[in-house]
Amino acid sequence: MSSQVISWHLDPPYGAHPKSITRIHLAAPCPADCTLHLQHILPPDLFVDPYELELYADAYTYSLSNPRVELEKPVFAVPNEPLTLRVNIRDACARETLEVEVPLHVRYGRLRDEQTRADEPVVQVRPPDAFWTCASHDAPAADAYAGSLVDLPHPSGLLEASPDVRPLSIRIPVGDIRHLVFVESGTVLAVLGAFAWVGWRVIRAARRLAGAQRARGKDKNE
């Protein structure tokens, strides 16, 4: 069996924090002086936290097409362009089968409205490409990396992917713009109600405190 990507899946395939898990089989002999990479091209609905990736420093290093990833905005507030993440696996040849885990995060999606009320907000995620780069090899044909946003220095061969490796869909949670009128008025009414309740309690307590203060003053005078 030649080197290939055996499987790829998102774990779990739902929720706000799926992990991309890729299993790779490496056939002997493992190329010397070469580095194995995984390249993820993520839609704008997904992102990685660079600081979280530092926790995986024992397993891999990484580079991003945009190092300043926006961590705190919904999808419609960030540029509508994919994010390319290249993972550089350490000591790939140390084992025959390796599993690479990359934590992903989901942005809140574009709001549902009257036109899209029946749509399923689902995003397609491509499986990562695995490839070697070796210092002694020439660059391959450019079309092997169509769509790549990261310059690849001397890439020397894409690993085949098994037929099981195919794009997956993940559901993105979205709000509904038709809720706005209720949310606006409901939030303010609740705030005002709580304000009135607490405010009245504070005023009553202040009156009791004032009364006690006056009583103490009288006792002192007597």
Partner: protein, 467 residues
């Protein structure tokens, strides 16, 4: 061993302190093992943020230099190179031993602040003369009119103080937050220190500490109102004057003015020093960010959904459909002022109205803090610590029945549990439950406001003067 000996041991403050220290050291050591063997970390994400910021501060380089006028001369790095670091540079300096000694050093500092806070709480309870208030069994509403009160013998008071201090020291909420690496305990120690000085009439020390606390995080500025109110009230009553006009006239007294000047002066001196070294990023990230932050992701505050529904898109325009017909009243409903004004009116008003004497500062600060948290447009579990800190000091002055206390605790916890059940569905199952989560946020807001009102109602205004 006799029963009284067991009770004596169980309520020995040294025993509680020793147990608290062992617990925290054990959890910090466990956290190192756990984090090394599991990808789901015990350590809070914030601790990584602080540690990264410290690393950047101590390792200046290209693209990482302090941007203030003195920064280049001092050759220090910029902690704000770390994205999402929104704290004073003093915090990253405090964690410098993380780089020199051990990465978990900061956790020991935070846990140590917990312990010191517990010692301070115990000391305050002893000096305030903690008294048990016997509730009237005929009283149905849990109001404050306790019929039976007595001075406890010294031994009883020590035991009671120990039990209340243990509420803080042995609270899983408290020790898990500090051992996970959250820095809240540092600020809470400043707040408690300020309160201790104020309760003992050491106003200059209190005002300086308040300035430090406000530099660390802005919200303690509300306590200044209560302190000045207490100063004015005490001065007016010492002169035998009780009218509101006479109290307000004391705002121009030397004591009130010096309190304001020292606390503001301390705050600005620290701010100027930090700005001189770290420049505009310090101002932007530590303070200005909080003026325009838009927390659209779910949190306890129901405001998150409104923020998400009206979040501007990449061009700055409000999301299509959300703009709609922007009448003036809808603009007002969406404005940050819709939440900020009630929050500040209550926080400041409670401080001004409830701080009649130094002894009432505990109630005033508790109410101010709870109001600030409940009405804030963002709220996470750590914020609850800000007002839970005062509970051990407040309990001796609450004429509350056990039943009512259980009801309050249940409502407080159940509203959070309800919200968490929906948050789990959104966060971990990816279900579209924004409306349900928002409604749970309303229940949380109203439930916690109800509990706060219930606690205010049972405050005993006839508690004896501080000993």
């Amino acid at each position: 061993m006799s029963q009284s000996n067991y009770l004596s041991m169980a309520t020995s403050f040294r025993a509680v302190l020793a147990l608290s220290c062992i617990l925290r050291i054990g959890l910090i050591l466990y956290s190192e093992w756990h984090d090394a063997h599991s990808l789901v970390k015990y350590t809070d994400v914030d601790y990584r943020v602080f540690s990264d910021a410290t690393h950047f501060l101590l390792n200046p380089g290209s693209g990482n230099r302090a941007q203030g006028p003195l920064g280049t001369w001092l050759n220090v790095g910029d902690p704000y190179t770390r994205a999402t670091y929104r704290y004073t540079p003093l915090l990253s300096l405090l964690l410098a031993p993380n780089e020199w000694i051990h990465p978990s050093f900061g956790k020991y500092i935070f846990a140590g602040c917990d312990i010191l806070a517990g010692v301070l709480i115990h000391s305050l309870l002893l000096s305030l003369g903690s008294q048990r208030v016997s509730s009237n069994p005929a009283r149905k509403t849990g109001g404050p009119k306790a019929e039976t009160r007595r001075e406890d013998p010294l031994e009883d008071r020590r035991a009671y103080s120990t039990i209340l201090a243990a509420v803080h020291l042995l609270s899983p909420f408290v020790f898990s937050i500090s051992t996970r690496g959250s820095s809240e305990s540092v600020l809470l120690l400043f707040v408690l220190g300020t309160l201790a000085c104020a309760l003992r009439g050491r106003w200059h020390a209190a005002s300086a500490l308040l300035g430090v606390a406000v530099h660390w995080k802005i919200y303690p500025v509300i306590y200044g109102v209560a302190c000045i109110a207490a100063i004015c009230q005490e001065r007016a009553h010492a002169k035998g004057k009780t009218s509101p006009g006479a109290v307000i006239a004391q705002l121009w007294s030397r004591q009130a003015i010096s309190f304001a000047v020292i606390s503001a002066g301390t705050f600005f001196a620290l701010g100027v020093a930090m700005f001189a070294i770290w420049g505009r990023p310090f101002l932007e990230e530590t303070y200005l960010y909080h003026l325009h932050r838009r927390d659209h992701r779910h949190n306890f505050a129901p405001h998150f959904y409104l923020i998400y529904l009206t979040y501007p898109d990449g061009s700055g325009a409000v999301e299509a459909g959300a703009g709609g017909s922007r009448t003036w009243w809808r603009a007002l409903l969406r404005s940050p002022l819709a939440g900020f004004v009630p929050q500040m009116v209550l926080a400041i008003g409670a401080g001004a109205l409830l701080a009649r004497r130094r002894e009432d500062l505990v109630l005033a600060w508790f109410v101010q803090t709870a109001v600030f948290v409940i009405f804030n447009k963002v709220c996470t579990s750590q914020y609850f610590l800000w007002y839970l800190l005062f509970i051990p000091l407040l309990v001796p002055r609450l004429g509350i029945s056990a039943r009512r206390a259980v009801v309050c605790a249940t409502v407080w916890a159940a509203t959070q549990a309800l919200w968490l059940s929906q948050a789990y569905r959104l966060e971990f199952l990816g279900e579209e439950v924004f409306a349900e989560l928002w409604m749970c946020g309303l229940v949380y807001l109203l439930g916690h406001a109800w509990v706060l009102g219930a606690i205010i109602d049972v405050y005993d205004v006839t508690a004896c003067k501080q000993q």
